[in-house]
């Protein structure tokens, strides 16, 4: 492939470089110029981590062939600030606490800059529309909005420049909103995440992933791939020197498929080559002969006799069953005035951290193998790696690189074993960066749950018995599933004093993408059903849903569903605080069926409904003198 010459001005400096013609502007800036401030989050124009100015106009640089930007003036996030002085917007992001993991922030700062350049007086709606192409997974956007409004007001003189400075703290530092110490490195793009790291003589890894949900690997031939020019080595399960079976609670997972694949996306072999393009080409030369096995994709079907079995040690595919038995639920139901039943379903979701998985592995001078990656649990990953690599644990080293969002998704180990093996085998640094699509198919998801709910209550709202039967699809490997079942069972019935409780949380192996740790870890699913169910019960009792919760709330010294005694219980404090802040008007759910309207709606602590077109009012012509039509429509509640 012949190179082309690219001439660009980047952040005020002229560059001329010969490079492969197919590079995107993002690749050119990051890999050729080593300006790694802007990130690659999705490669498909969907997330905005790569937003850069091209001739003054903001573009998603993953959608721009570098040749299309020939002769253009590029400004990356590194080019915003001059001589170590952050811009007003960057300082406002720092002040407002607008960065968390920081991975989206370079792109977000660029989008905010573009928005205020287009209209220095942009109101909140126009700011939101200006940021509409940039995803943030950590902040909920609130502090980003606050930052952009702060910057706008400082730029316009509505607020003094001192509004950007840190407040002075009197009294304790504990309890003070000290500005985040890592924010300057995030708003400026200076912080290097794993995919931004390079080392001399570094190799690149790519992984062959299973296209089959369940199959025996009858033959695996990597010889042609291994002898390709530029390929350093190809790894398979045969390269694992130690115990090739790991997990968080249950050891059921190999570093790469060992004789069988159990989900689409499971790693089979890893190619280590001079560049990612060669590694990808080599993947296509690996020959795998699959013998398809019967597969099961539904958790309840997987529990049936005769269903395909995933792991010999777990007949019936049940990998965990957590039970809680308190009191006598049948008696509780018998004594109830009202029994309410419903089935709830929650779906699998993706963590969608903006930073796809990445890592860099190398050997220290003393032979210690080091893996630098955005791991949420380097302690446990080191334990597992020492066993996998059959090495003394003090010759295995893990360094956490800045984590561009985790939410539990970087807790279950996935690729670190391959990276460590690659570094040991090649004795060179090896980097591996997932694509977004690879992250989707290979990494663990939130467990989808099906919950059969039965609750017995007295007419006064007192819950006498709760029974929850929860089946979770754990996918092909256990990962954090057993822990998720525990939390679902322990917390599922909610913070309510219930004399009789029966909980079953069952995690089932299927040939779906594995489920693992995710923020709120089983409690999201189980407490969702309880809180939705209580609203249904309030409706049936003709009760205010807050009152129903007050009646049942655990109080100081309560006994939990696992029969532990609590000390102070703050639940009622939070109920009263939320009700007061929201000016909650008591009444049964959907009171307007009786013609009664809620009086508490639409306060100035709610946002306006989004109608889009905030800027249309500015550009209308004399023929159309009014703004967006839908904006003028009255909201009918």
């Amino acid at each position: 492939m012949p190179d082309i010459e690219i001439r660009l001005t980047v952040n005020g400096r002229k560059f001329a470089r010969r490079c492969a013609p197919h590079l995107r502007l993002l690749d050119f800036v990051r890999e050729e110029l080593h300006l790694t401030g802007n990130k690659e989050g999705c490669g498909a124009g969907e997330c905005g981590t790569c937003s850069m100015f091209v001739n003054g106009v903001l573009h998603k640089s993953c959608l721009l062939p570098v040749a299309k930007a020939q002769d253009a003036e590029i400004v990356t996030v590194e080019g915003l600030a001059r001589e170590d002085e952050l811009t007003i917007l960057q300082r406002a992001f720092h002040k407002a606490g607008a960065s968390q993991c920081g991975y989206c922030i370079p792109g977000m700062v660029m989008a905010a800059t573009a928005t205020l350049r287009r209209n220095p007086h942009a109101d909140l709606e126009e700011i939101k529309e200006g940021l509409g192409g940039n995803i943030c997974r950590c902040t909920g956007y609130q502090k980003i909005f606050a930052a952009v409004e702060l910057a706008r007001d400082v730029m316009n003189g509505a607020l003094p420049a001192t509004a950007l400075e840190e407040e002075t703290y009197r009294g304790s530092y504990i309890g003070a909103s000290v500005r985040r110490l890592d924010a300057p490195s995030k708003v400026s793009g200076a912080l290097r995440y794993a995919a931004d790291m390079t080392m001399p003589n570094m190799l690149h890894m790519q992984v062959l992933r299973s296209p089959m949900p369940h199959a025996r690997i009858a033959a695996l031939d990597v010889s042609e791939a291994a002898t390709m020019a530029g390929v350093e080595t190809v790894l398979t399960c045969n390269d694992v020197p130690g115990v090739d079976n790991y997990g968080v609670f249950i050891d059921d997972q190999p570093v790469m498929a060992r004789g069988v694949v159990r989900y689409v996306g499971e790693g089979i072999a890893a190619v280590v080559a001079e560049n990612p393009l060669i590694a990808r080409a080599a993947l296509a030369k690996i020959k795998v002969r699959f013998e398809e096995l019967p597969a099961v994709f539904d958790a309840e079907e997987a529990m049936q006799p005769g269903a395909p079995q995933l792991h010999d040690a777990y007949p019936g595919n049940v990998c965990k069953h957590t039970k809680i038995r308190k009191g006598d639920v049948e008696r509780g139901f018998a004594e109830s005035d009202l029994i309410v039943e419903e089935t709830y379903e929650t779906q699998a979701i993706e963590h969608a951290y903006l930073e796809p998985e990445a890592g860099l592995a190398y050997l220290d001078a003393d032979g210690t193998v080091t893996v630098q990656a955005p791991d949420q649990n380097i302690t446990h990953h080191r334990h597992m790696l020492a066993r996998i690599l059959n090495r003394p644990i003090n010759t295995v080293r893990l360094i956490m690189s800045p984590v561009g969002g985790g939410f539990g998704g970087k807790e279950d180990m996935l690729y670190q074993g391959m990276l460590a093996l690659a570094a040991i085998k090649t004795r060179r640094p090896v980097r591996y960066v997932f694509t977004r699509e690879e992250s989707f198919i290979a990494s663990a998801k939130r467990h989808p749950f099906r919950i059969r709910y039965r609750m017995g209550l007295r007419k006064d709202g007192r819950i006498l018995a709760t029974s929850m039967y929860m089946i979770a699809d754990g996918g092909a490997y256990a990962m954090s599933g057993p822990g998720v079942m525990n939390k679902a069972a322990i917390l599922g019935a909610g913070p309510y004093a219930i004399p009789n409780v029966r909980m079953d949380a069952i995690c089932v192996y299927t040939n779906n993408t594995p489920a693992g740790a995710m923020r709120s870890f089983g409690a999201f699913q189980s407490e969702f059903s309880t809180e939705a169910h209580l609203d249904l019960c309030a409706e049936k009792l003709g009760m205010d849903p807050i009152e129903l919760r007050r009646v049942n709330a655990m109080r100081d010294g309560a006994i939990t569903h696992t029969q532990a005694q609590l000390g102070s219980v703050s639940l009622l404090r939070t109920i009263e605080a939320a009700a007061q802040a929201a000016r909650w008007a008591p009444g049964e759910p959907h009171r307007q069926t009786r013609g009664e309207q809620r009086p508490d709606l639409g306060g100035n602590d709610t946002r306006k409904p989004c109608t889009l077109g905030a800027r249309l009012a500015r550009i209308t012509t004399p023929a159309n003198t009014v703004g967006s039509a839908s904006e003028r429509k009255a909201v009918q509640t």
Partner: protein, 335 residues
């Protein structure tokens, strides 16, 4: 037609690892220039734990947060602090750092007491200064470190750890003490449902959460806001779907995440019910804040339009389908 409604939901959550002992360790050095070096295997995943630990170390040592340097998380260089998860970092590691700082500070006070020949109880430190109450003895922490090192040959180092004891569950009854500390919370949510399209816009969230003690209120708000919006995504739009084990949502074009145009105004109310079981009284917030949002949204949809969504996510299609079923049902009753 746009209709509004409100819903409520509560949550509780256990802090740190479940039904298993949890622990972390930390080392501290009072360093040149009156700075403080803290080393612990903490993992910043964006929640702001590094800033939180710097505040804790600054408070305990009597320096300013910017004087604190945290070592990298490196299994070969730092003591174990285990994982970033289970809403445990401020609780477990924060208390470990406080404990290490108290160890170092005790040594520092003892040495300064000898240097000044005063009782240690009279010595205070704060914001980079050390002084003796009621006496004209005062110096910067930088000077103090210099004096201790050069005149007395003393390097001030401390270490500490924190342990949270939890018992496993009985396999048949589930009886046990899975955590020593719990948090509670309540969210009220206001939505607008478009009965022409089934779209749900979440307009307002009032989120009251007990965090024990808010080390950094802005950071706590950030956790609540982020959790609310992540849960909003699961409640209304996100869905990782598979067909015969192959995903039909392989990237962000098909897997829909909340954008700036989809998020409510989040009003956080921080409740501080200090935890008497720990040195700092802190608990946690990262995970619990995500728990009440989805049911509060679903309950608010019911309040607005009278349909119960029992299967997440409540996409426009599902909301409109439920409205259609409700109308058909009401028409049947009318006949």
């Amino acid at each position: 037609m746009k209709r509004r409604g409100r819903g409520v939901a509560c949550c509780w959550y256990g802090i740190a690892r479940t039904a298993a002992v949890d622990r972390a360790g930390a080392w501290v050095e009072l360093d040149d220039g009156g700075t403080v070096k803290v080393t612990t295997g903490v993992t910043e995943i964006g929640e702001g734990i590094l800033t939180t630990l710097c505040q804790i170390a600054a408070e305990e040592m009597g320096v300013r947060p910017k004087d604190v340097t945290l070592g990298d998380n490196d299994t070969a260089r730092a003591p174990e602090a285990a994982h970033a998860g289970a809403t445990r970092q401020t609780y477990i590691i924060g208390n470990a750092v406080a404990s290490a700082c108290r160890d170092a500070r005790d040594k520092f006070i003892k040495e300064m007491a000898q240097h000044w020949n005063v009782p240690g109880e009279l010595i205070d430190t704060r914001a980079g200064e050390v002084w003796v109450r009621g006496r004209d003895l005062r110096m910067s922490m930088a000077e103090a470190v210099d004096v201790l090192k050069k005149q007395h040959g003393i390097v001030i180092v401390g270490s500490g750890s924190y342990t949270s004891l939890h018992t496993p569950l009985d396999p048949e009854t589930g009886r046990g003490e899975p955590w020593q500390s719990y948090v509670f919370g309540t969210q009220i949510i206001e939505v607008e449902v478009d009965t022409d399209t089934g779209e749900v816009q979440v307009l307002g969230v009032w989120a009251a959460h007990d965090v024990g003690r808010a080390v950094n209120p802005q950071g706590v708000e950030g956790q609540i806001e982020g959790a609310v919006v992540m849960a909003l995504g699961q409640a209304l739009m996100e869905d990782f779907t598979l067909k015969d084990g192959r995903t039909t949502t392989p990237g962000f074009a098909k897997y829909i995440l909340p954008t700036s145009l989809d998020v409510p105004q989040v009003n956080s109310i921080i409740i501080e019910d200090r935890d008497p079981k720990t040195p700092l009284g802190v608990k946690g917030i990262g995970e619990p804040a995500m728990v009440p949002t989805a049911p509060a949204i679903i309950n608010a949809i019911y309040d607005a339009v009278g349909v119960r969504i029992t299967r997440l996510p409540a996409t426009p299609e599902r909301v409109l389908e439920a409205l259609r079923a409700k109308r058909a049902n009401e028409a049947d009753i009318a006949l």
